[in-house]
């Protein structure tokens, strides 16, 4: 990952939070917060998925690996899923993932799942502000750096493009 641009405001720790919001409820709520001009902390970056059921635990882990300090998952309220039950599937994965994250020393507040209905722009504001404050107290998420060989980097086995083949020989 390239870090060719310096931090614009170096003073003080500003958490970086990536939010995965479902298209129908939470993303819409987030738009509503905008049209209602609700001001909130600028630390989240929203990635839109169609349903919280699309949110893969791998996204959460990769987001932390890429340097985020927190991950916020947002879906429709229970029973309100546009696709009937994607949010429940998200919830179950999330609960299992959280148990793993706790073992890995990732603090509870860093990864959060919220049900936010399309009409709840104010909840986007509230949850964002709350989460930013909590993570500000925790500081950077310090994952252990993955070591690499000192020589030219080896083919990264978990990188999607470079493997691929790996068929039976």
């Amino acid at each position: 990952m390239s870090k060719d641009t310096p931090l614009p405001s170096a003073e003080g720790f500003e958490p970086r939070i990536v939010a995965f919001f479902c298209n129908w409820c939470t993303y819409t709520a987030s738009d509503l917060a905008g049209t209602s001009r609700m001001q909130y902390a600028p630390n989240t970056r929203v990635i839109r998925v169609m349903c919280s059921g699309r949110i893969d635990p791998r996204f959460v882990l990769q987001t932390l690996r890429e340097g985020a300090d927190g991950v916020l998952l947002g879906g429709c309220r229970p029973g309100d899923c546009h696709y009937q039950s994607g949010n429940y599937k998200c919830l179950r994965r999330f609960k299992l993932l959280k148990r793993y994250l706790a073992q890995m020393g990732v603090e509870n507040e860093r990864v959060r799942l919220e049900w936010i209905a399309a009409s709840e722009g104010d909840r986007v504001q509230k949850v964002t502000n709350e989460m930013v404050e909590q993570i500000r107290k925790l500081g950077h998420c310090r994952l252990e750096q993955i070591p690499r060989p000192e020589t030219e980097p080896a083919a990264e086995t978990h990188d999607l493009e470079q493997v691929g083949a790996g068929g039976m020989i």
Partner: protein
């Protein structure tokens, strides 16, 4: 024409990988006929000096099993890398960190503290701990130092191929040797094993219902395991759906669930997360409390879903285990 030279070395491992070579049985005769083993500490009396004396790239191939945790292992890995044309990470530990990789859930200090102080079987009233340097009557001794974390081989040196498994199935070893001898190797970086998950050739797949099949998770000792039925459908944590096949479903045939030793298929970045997602999705509860209750049946998610691959996983290690000098 001289035979191609090969090495077979072990780092942080259990010796099971060597067993897999022995498992070649009479086929091993064909191997030693075609290949000249020039370094194989378990089986033959070559020393490090013998390797150091080799030309760079003198070995056609070197298999290294075991994870990397000590300065000695690192040095050997670097040395063998230099001396071999093709370096193969052999077995789960070398490929992904393996069972020794579970140590990445603890700091070195925690491990030392337990092993040299707190373990019930420890009797160490002086609190002695191993030292890198030690003044013995015969002169100063130097021991390898223990790294703060466990690494897979490719986190230390460049690796050309991977043969997964704990221990690797002999069929894969044979296939790899044959490919090497014929020069028909897959693209660099490949995992030499089929690239579909175990379910693909699981003999029980037809008994797996296509429905949210898990209401509670059980441990193998808790139930009378049906010999025919899909183990997941019996509530056992079978990692088959997220684990590369190629093992000839040995565990399944032994009526034990897959514990994931072959690692993920190539499209999956993180084996544990993949199974977390799959199993979580299939849990047949909507009520948060019911979900929690069911998940209590998995007391150690990291150890269950990442049993063979914590160092190779996205998170690599528990946060903060390398903080401080950890010296003792």
């Amino acid at each position: 024409m001289s035979k191609p030279k090969a090495g077979f070395y072990w780092c942080a491992s259990c010796g099971g990988c060597e067993e897999s070579v022995v498992d070649l049985a009479e086929d091993i005769l064909g191997v030693v006929e075609a290949i000249d083993f020039v370094f194989f500490p378990v089986a033959m009396d070559f020393k490090r000096e013998d390797v150091e004396a080799m030309e760079d790239g003198e070995m056609t191939v070197c298999f290294i099993n075991g994870a990397i945790r000590s300065s000695e292992q690192r040095e050997m890995a670097e040395l063998l890398r230099r001396k071999s044309q093709v370096l193969i990470a052999y077995g789960s530990c070398s490929y992904q960190g393996g069972i020794p990789g579970l140590a990445n859930l603890c700091s070195r200090e925690e491990i030392f503290k337990f092993v040299y102080h707190d373990s019930p079987s420890t009797d160490n009233p002086q609190g002695t701990r191993p030292q890198v340097r030690f003044d013995a009557p015969e002169g100063e001794l130097e021991l390898p130092s223990l790294d703060k974390e466990v690494k897979s081989l490719d986190q230390v040196v460049e690796v050309d191929y991977y043969i997964p498994g704990c221990a690797p199935p002999t069929a894969l070893l044979k296939a790899a040797v044959e490919a090497l001898l014929s020069g028909d190797m897959p693209p660099k970086g490949s995992v030499i094993a089929p690239d579909t998950a175990l379910c693909d050739d699981c003999p029980r797949i037809d008994t797996k219902p296509a429905e949210p099949l898990i209401t509670e998770f059980k441990r193998p000792w808790q139930i009378q395991i049906d010999h025919e039925k899909c183990l997941l459908a019996q509530g056992l944590l079978c990692l088959g759906p997220a684990t590369r096949g190629g093992c000839d479903h040995a565990c399944i045939d032994g009526n034990m669930p897959c514990s994931g030793c072959m690692g993920p298929v190539s499209r999956v970045r993180d084996q544990g997360a993949a199974i977390i997602s799959a199993l979580g999705s299939l849990l047949n509860h909507d009520d948060p409390d019911e979900i929690d209750k069911a998940l209590d049946g998995i007391p150690d998610p990291a150890g269950t879903f990442y049993r063979y691959g914590i160092p190779h996983s996205t998170l690599y290690a528990r946060c903060g285990i390398t903080a401080g000098n950890g010296e003792s």
